[in-house]
Amino acid sequence: MSDVPAVFPFTEIIGQEDMKRALLLNVIDPGIGGVLIKGEKGTAKSTTVRSLDRVLPTRTVVDGCPFRCEYGRKDRYCPYCLEKLEKGEELRPVECRMKVVDLPLSATEDRVSGTLDLEHVLKTGTKRFEPGVLAAANGNILYVDEVNLLDDHLVDLLLDSAAMGVNYVEREGVSFSHPAKFVLIGTMNPEEGDLRPQLLDRFGLSLDIKGEKDVKKRAAIVKKRVEYDMDPEAFIARRVKDLESVTETIVKGKRLLPEVVADDSVIDMVVSVTTHFGIDGHRADITLLKAAKANAALEGRCTVTKDDIIATAELVLSHRLRRRPFEESGLDREELEQCLKDL
């Protein structure tokens, strides 16, 4: 569609490897639970997230379903698909590209959750549900820029759906529920205020990114960007092959993921890492294991290794560390490696 603005190609973003990895892991396994990207100004946070849109793979969904229910997952069908099945109608599969759905800060609560279908009411006098942003986000990536500025009541909505994968709507006389499983990606500038702990906890991965200090790299970044700005379409056209190969990697990774095995030694490693860093609860363990598996799949391997844990531990643990106030955030990589070595 031409009215969707061009985005800077994913493959042309210099540096920020952790951020790119965190995003790709989430595409490969949406169960990881999204990523929170914190960072100072001008570090390509939004650019990178938006650029992801262009490399996302397709998925198989139910044809004609407004929520694009995943085809073949009866347990997760929306009321419409279930109704069709009950009536004996056949559901047909269709390929549909995953996308990045924007949640603007100015969104209203009713629009996000979905609300009364106004046109339907006005024309027929009967009530019907009008899907909202959460419906559009189902099976996709939901992106909130400046997530720490998001109003509390919207945060509550996100938390509810993110927790259950279902959006329950009880408003304006409409009672409805539909699947809303999405990968939540937030970017924020910590200076504008912190995130609510409940929301922070929802993010599977998090990372803190820093600006580029190396003058040569900066100049290279600027050169690329200036070239892009001159003619975005042509710039992208020259990178189509690169972009396609990223998509291919993702597709391969997704296909490989169910076959990735983590033996007991990996489980031991995961548990000892989280224990070492004093992290409560099992969510960190589960997420670390998922992330490590996804990382193996991303790199085309069927077995999880220590390196996968090293590559993902910081992403999983940094926002879960019990931090004494004012300590540098983040995980000490040396400490991590030492801890794994000791096993």
Partner: protein, 626 residues
């Protein structure tokens, strides 16, 4: 033109060279989308911005800073929706600015989430609307010109970073300005015709520059210089990009197709001051300081720009420096040496210092004037917040509660006849939503850091209290800030924030000592919080004044500082701000200045003596919670 001109022509505005340059860049380049103009009241910021229409053929669309999201980005057109029987979108102000210039005065008064949305939309040329039954995405191509008064509350670094260029409105010779305005007042037509040639030339210049711009080249060396410079002053990548775009514009405006050193230097003045990390000192002069010796190139570099600069600031630098530019460009064919780079860094650093100096000067309040008259509380109707219940609308509404409206219309359907729609809604059925929003508190600590007894302990207690209050502000949604006064001034050390980490960094080192300009501190902080309260509607604002109440720097020379403060306290009239006075006086003899001050401010009063940080925080909490 038969219509009476309402605005001074662009070229007739006296001086303001940096601002003009920035605005010209925005007209020339599609990559310069946002321009911020900083300057005190009456610095002709608005006049200059409005005059853009005369040289660009674009409309200058005015956007009030208190605009709601619905009005700005678009929302539901209720009348059309009801009459057409389907949701119809009403376009926002932003779409009217498409292809034009959007002008926002006092942009710091804008709600942060609205401002963030506006900047994103302008820079990405893309607007996403998800409101009520409306889900839409449209493209918009506009230039955002915004002004900010540095005396008012400031924008955060991240917001500032998203302004491509930021120019400081320079002080101009008021006689010249007054004369020009008088001429315009008397006969706008004749003034306009007097400047018609210059306007013509200006338009040609912009037109030519826009044509040259796509072919303007920049050497890799200069690009490296830019990156070096940006890294040095602590700017993000947006700074580098803005520098590149701006230097190219400046080259094009001078009719050149190659960027020169001078372009880069000038661009730095427009691109970097607002992106600077304040803890990073401006680049120091190269060691040893170079004498303007026999080498004529060096002599030019170090001497000429200061002259230009002085012209800009003091006189109304009307004439262009074309001749000089040509001379400069001759030198620029030679490759850049390390020395050149250092020279440039120094030159730019020097100009930063000029800006800092101007900035600090504008921070002095004009005169002791307390504003009488109460400002009515603005009702927030921006459609954010939780839909709690519905009610019959108070005046016009765009926030329709459809369920309630339909319910209200239902009983009458039999008697209302219609053959097109199934439900007939009349005006009296319309209900609007009552939205509720959890409101928080903003607490500004105003601390006497002058060199009186026990200042260190006082500071550490206050710091401890701030941190302690912030730590549980997650739950309470409070923002806390800190201003301090010492020596001859009062400054905001920590703008109201919820971030523990950010405040920790700001509070790490608190200087103390010097005299006590209590009067100025009261005035400045009250003004700051008042403007803050204006853009954070619904927020409960408090000022916690920690002082012994004894002043020794009067606002007006020759007056008794203590009497002045007491008088000032009586005159201050801030209906939306609560005061708390914490008496920091210790030992004997105990003065009752602070107590009196509290009385005059109608403030709650307690004494700091023997309170530790946590108990201090607790006491303040208790006062705030009533």
């Amino acid at each position: 033109m038969s219509e009476r001109p309402v605005n001074l022509p662009f070229t007739a505005v006296v001086g303001m060279d940096d601002c003009k340059k920035a605005l010209e860049c925005a007209l020339v380049s599609p990559h310069v989308k946002t321009v911020l103009i900083r300057g005190g009241t009456g610095a002709a910021k608005t006049v200059l911005s409005r005059s853009l229409s005369g040289i660009s053929g674009k409309k200058v669309v005015n956007c009030p800073p208190n605009i709601g999201e619905e009005e700005l980005f678009g929302g539901l057109d209720v009348e059309a929706t009801v009459s057409e029987g389907r949701p119809v979108m009403r376009k926002g102000l932003l779409s009217r600015a498409d292809g034009n210039i959007l002008y926002v005065d006092d942009i710091d008064l804008m709600e942060r989430s609205v401002l963030s949305g506006l900047l994103t939309a302008t820079i990405d040329r893309d607007v996403v609307v998800e409101r009520g039954p409306i889900s839409s995405r449209y493209r918009v191509d506009t230039v955002l010109v915004a002004t900010i008064n540095p005396m008012d509350s400031d924008l955060s670094d991240h917001m500032l970073d998203r302004f491509d260029l930021c120019a400081y409105a320079s002080d101009e010779d008021s006689r010249e300005v007054l004369k020009r305005l008088y001429d315009f007042e008397m006969s706008p037509e004749s003034l306009e015709s007097r400047f018609s040639e210059e306007q013509e030339a200006e338009m040609k210049k912009i037109d030519r520059a826009a044509r040259i711009l796509p072919i303007v080249e920049m050497s890799d060396e200069l690009l490296n210089v830019i990156s070096e410079l940006c890294a040095k002053v602590g700017a993000g990548i947006r700074g580098d990009l803005a520098m590149v775009n701006c230097s190219k514009c400046l080259a094009a405006l001078n009719g050149r197709d190659t960027v020169t050193k001078k372009d880069v230097e000038e661009a730095a003045i427009l691109c970097l001051p607002h992106r600077r990390d304040p803890t990073v000192q401006p680049p120091e002069p190269p060691q040893p300081p170079e004498e303007p010796d026999g080498q004529d190139e060096d002599g030019e570099d170090t001497e000429e720009p200061p002259d230009n600069n002085d012209n800009d600031r003091k006189d109304d630098g009307q004439e262009e420096q074309d001749g000089q530019d040509e001379e400069e460009s001759r030198n620029d064919d030679e490759p850049l040496s390390m020395e050149d780079l250092e020279d440039m860094l120094f030159e730019i650093g020097r100009q930063f210092r000029v800006i800092d100096y101007l900035g600090s000067r504008t921070k002095v309040p004009s005169r002791t004037k307390t504003r009488k008259g109460r400002r009515a509380m603005a009702v927030s109707a921006d459609g954010t917040g939780r839909y709690a219940r519905s009610r019959e609308p108070l005046g016009r509404t765009s926030d329709i509660a459809f369920d309630a409206t339909v319910r209200a219309a239902a009983p009458y359907q039999n008697v209302r006849h219609s053959d097109q729609v199934s439900i007939v809604i009349e005006k009296r059925d319309i209900r609007e939503k009552v939205r509720e929003r959890r409101s928080g508190c903003t607490i500004m600590f105003l601390v006497d850091a002058s060199g009186s007894l026990g200042v260190r302990k006082r500071m550490s207690t206050v710091k401890g209290a701030i941190m302690s209050m912030l730590r549980d502000s997650y739950v309470r949604r409070d923002r806390i800030g800190l201003s301090m006064f010492r020596r001859d001034s009062c400054e905001v050390i920590l703008p109201p924030t919820k971030s523990v980490e950010y405040s920790y960094r700001c509070l790490e080192e608190l200087p103390t000592g010097g005299k006590t300009p209590l009067g100025e501190a009261l005035l400045r902080t009250e003004e700051y919080m008042r403007s803050y309260a204006r853009c954070h509607v619904g927020e409960n604002c408090f000022i916690v004044l920690v002082t012994d109440g004894r002043a020794n720097v009067p606002l007006e020379e020759g007056r008794n500082a203590n009497d002045e403060v007491q008088k000032l306290a009586e005159d201050l009239d801030s209906p939306h701000i609560g005061w708390i006075v914490v008496d920091a006086g210790a030992g004997f003899p105990h003065f009752d200045n602070a107590e009196k001050l509290a009385e005059k401010l109608e403030a709650r009063y307690f004494r700091l003596e023997d309170l530790d940080a946590d108990r201090f925080a607790e006491s303040i909490r208790n006062v705030i919670d009533g």
